[in-house]
């Protein structure tokens, strides 16, 4: 029993280590994955931002608001994590069929350990991606202090874990990559655009209230909400927030368990 636990921990560690090692070794992948968020930051942050007044300004309480790029930045961090984590989890479909995962599945390591290792690996890599974007922040005029950076990284890690688990839940029983486009169209993009990453979900307006209801079902919204409140502490009106950051984190933990448990169970099921 103890032996088995040891093997499983080591096995999960191996899966995690492989994901991280692959990421670190593959510089083209690191740069490639930066291209998209940077494009969004420039095109939306500066392009679209140039015609926007300060977000949240003039609201009751004398709030000065923030530049759009500052508002957008936490949203782009979540976008990066969303894309990286989901793709990393879905890669197990391909990996199981033709790749390294088959070698892992016949090893004396339980599939639960393999699944957990994969969640850990995907989450870590996604969080590192987010951290790299944060490093670029100062170049775009976005500055955070050390405490905020640590808090934001923790939220990003949690969001990454939620999305990786969701990816594993989707990919666990899938045998082919054919459903992939569908997932892109009906999951990834709505999750991104309806999360509030690009615009505030303001309560008190009809459209805003509808968006806020939809956002309650979207794990990404909680990530964006928490991250933005930490990043722009007190600079935005209260009507822009979904929940206090602590509540967002609890919801994220809830989503994590909701996706992880059935995801790993399905993944562990023997054919």
């Amino acid at each position: 029993m103890e032996m088995q636990l040891r093997h499983d921990v080591k096995g999960a560690y191996t899966i995690w280590y492989r994901d991280v090692l692959r990421f670190v070794r593959d510089r083209s992948r690191i740069f490639g994955s930066l291209a998209q968020p940077l494009l969004f930051l420039f095109a939306l942050g500066f392009g679209l931002g140039s015609m926007l007044s300060r977000v949240g300004a003039g609201q009751p309480g004398g709030i000065v608001g923030v530049a759009y790029i500052e508002f957008l930045f936490p949203g782009i961090l979540c976008m990066t994590v969303l894309f990286t984590a989901l793709f990393s989890a879905i890669s197990i479909v391909w990996d199981r069929e033709f790749g390294f995962l088959r070698e892992v599945l016949v090893a004396p390591v339980s599939r639960t350990a393999v699944g957990l290792g994969k969640v850990a690996g995907g989450s870590t890599v996604a969080m590192i991606q987010g951290a790299i974007i944060m490093l670029i922040g100062p170049l775009l005029g976005v500055h955070y202090d050390a405490l905020k950076i640590i808090e934001m990284l923790l939220v990003l890690l949690l969001l990454a874990a939620v999305i990786t688990s969701l990816g594993i839940l989707i990919a666990a029983r899938q045998k082919t990559m054919e459903g992939f486009q569908v997932i892109m169209q009906f999951l990834l993009l709505p999750m991104l655009f309806l999360s509030g990453a690009f615009f505030p979900l303001v309560s008190g307006t009809t459209a805003g209230d509808v968006l806020r209801i939809i956002a309650q079902f979207n794990p990404v919204s909680y990530g964006v909400d928490a991250l933005r409140q930490i990043a722009l502490e007190g600079k935005l009106p209260a009507t822009y927030a979904l929940h206090p950051p602590g509540v967002d984190v609890l919801f994220l933990i809830g989503f994590f368990i909701l996706f992880l448990v059935p995801g790993v169970a399905l993944f562990s099921k023997q054919d």
């Binding site: 088995q4 040891r6 790749g99 088959r102 070698e103 016949v106 004396p108 390591v109 023997q270």
Partner: protein
């Protein structure tokens, strides 16, 4: 005690029976082969023995461990080489070996010694620090063999181990494998649809549509085919067939022509040439081939089909399609 014991093993996918009540035993140190066409149930059987697939009935044990109830012990004592490479191409050969050692909890000291020894055997010592992406197909297979043996398995399962490799590389790989078998009393269980690969085996089970139709040593199997095999091509195979019938000689029509199994083939050839010549109207022979029987001939004799017949029957195609959609084991 046999290393592998299989009794009435069965696997179904929906209403399709992929493996039908198969029974056999494999002794320690034996090279045991499953020979059959694609979709015959070879990979399904191997996947059940390796605990990748559940069984639908019957029992199987490897190294005395039950594949259904003692999966972890089975996994610990076997090595596996899949049809498709399962190396991580983005990593180096060495990193691939390291991951294997981690997954199988091989102690660092053992890993160092064992990997050095195996890399020398497969002649990859100089290349192992390079990225696997740059490896040729043969090098990848060699690395996989070294990896599969790293944790001292008792049985090495090989699913179409040399598929897609050139004959020279294939022969080379078998040299390594036989070498380890002799040194470590390793048992090899392989599936193949290459006849020359099957010749390496001590015993072969010929499998078709999920059933073992014959099981014996290659020589004994070949003796099932009487005497020699003569293959004739003529300008009119239909008339040639009736001439053969007139000579009281049985034949089969294959893609190569008319195939006859007969004792003293060397004496049969002049007789058949004369008969074709004297037929009214005359049948002209365009080529004659005389050879000793091969395992392919055994397969044709037992199943009535050639193993490499390009044109699969409609049912076979259905099978393959179901197989493709049904589970993750096989090649598409």
């Amino acid at each position: 005690m046999p290393v592998i014991e299989v009794k009435d093993l069965k696997r179904t996918f929906g209403d399709f029976v992929a493996v039908k009540d198969v029974s056999f035993e494999v002794e320690e140190g034996e090279i045991f082969g499953f020979l059959g066409p694609n979709g015959a149930g070879k990979s399904t059987t191997i996947n059940m023995l390796c605990t990748l697939l559940k069984t639908s009935g019957g029992s199987a044990s490897v190294n005395g461990y039950d594949v259904a109830t003692q999966q972890d012990k089975v996994r610990r004592s076997i090595g596996l080489i899949f049809q498709d490479p399962t190396l991580d191409e983005r990593l180096t050969g060495w990193q691939n070996l390291q991951f294997h050692a981690m997954l199988y909890d091989v102690p660092t000291e053992t890993f160092k010694e064992r990997s050095a020894e195996l890399l020398e055997m497969v002649e990859l010592t100089d290349k192992v620090r390079e990225s696997v992406k740059s490896f040729s197909g043969g090098m990848k297979r060699r690395l996989e063999i070294a990896r599969g043996l790293l944790h001292h398995p008792k049985v090495l399962f090989l699913d179409e181990p040399t598929i897609g490799l050139d004959p020279q590389t294939r022969w080379h790989i078998w040299e390594y494998l036989e070498n380890v078998r002799d040194r470590e009393r390793l048992t090899l269980f392989l599936t193949t649809h290459y006849m020359d690969e099957a010749e390496v085996c001590d015993r072969i089970a010929i499998i078709d549509h999920g059933e073992i139709v014959a099981l014996d040593s290659p020589d004994k199997l070949k003796s099932l085919v009487g005497g020699d095999v003569v293959t004739l091509s003529t300008d009119d195979n239909a008339r040639a067939a009736s001439v053969l019938a007139g000579m009281d000689v049985e034949h089969q029509v294959t893609s190569e022509g008319l195939r006859v199994e007969i004792d003293h083939g060397d004496q049969f050839i002049p007789r058949v040439m004369r008969a074709m010549d004297e037929a009214q109207p005359r049948v002209s022979i365009t080529s004659v081939n005389l050879r000793r029987p091969t395992l392919e001939d055994v397969f044709i004799k037992l199943t009535g089909r050639a193993i490499r017949d390009e044109e699969a029957s409609a049912t076979d195609m259905m099978r393959n399609r179901r197989r493709g959609g049904g589970w993750g084991g096989g090649r598409r």
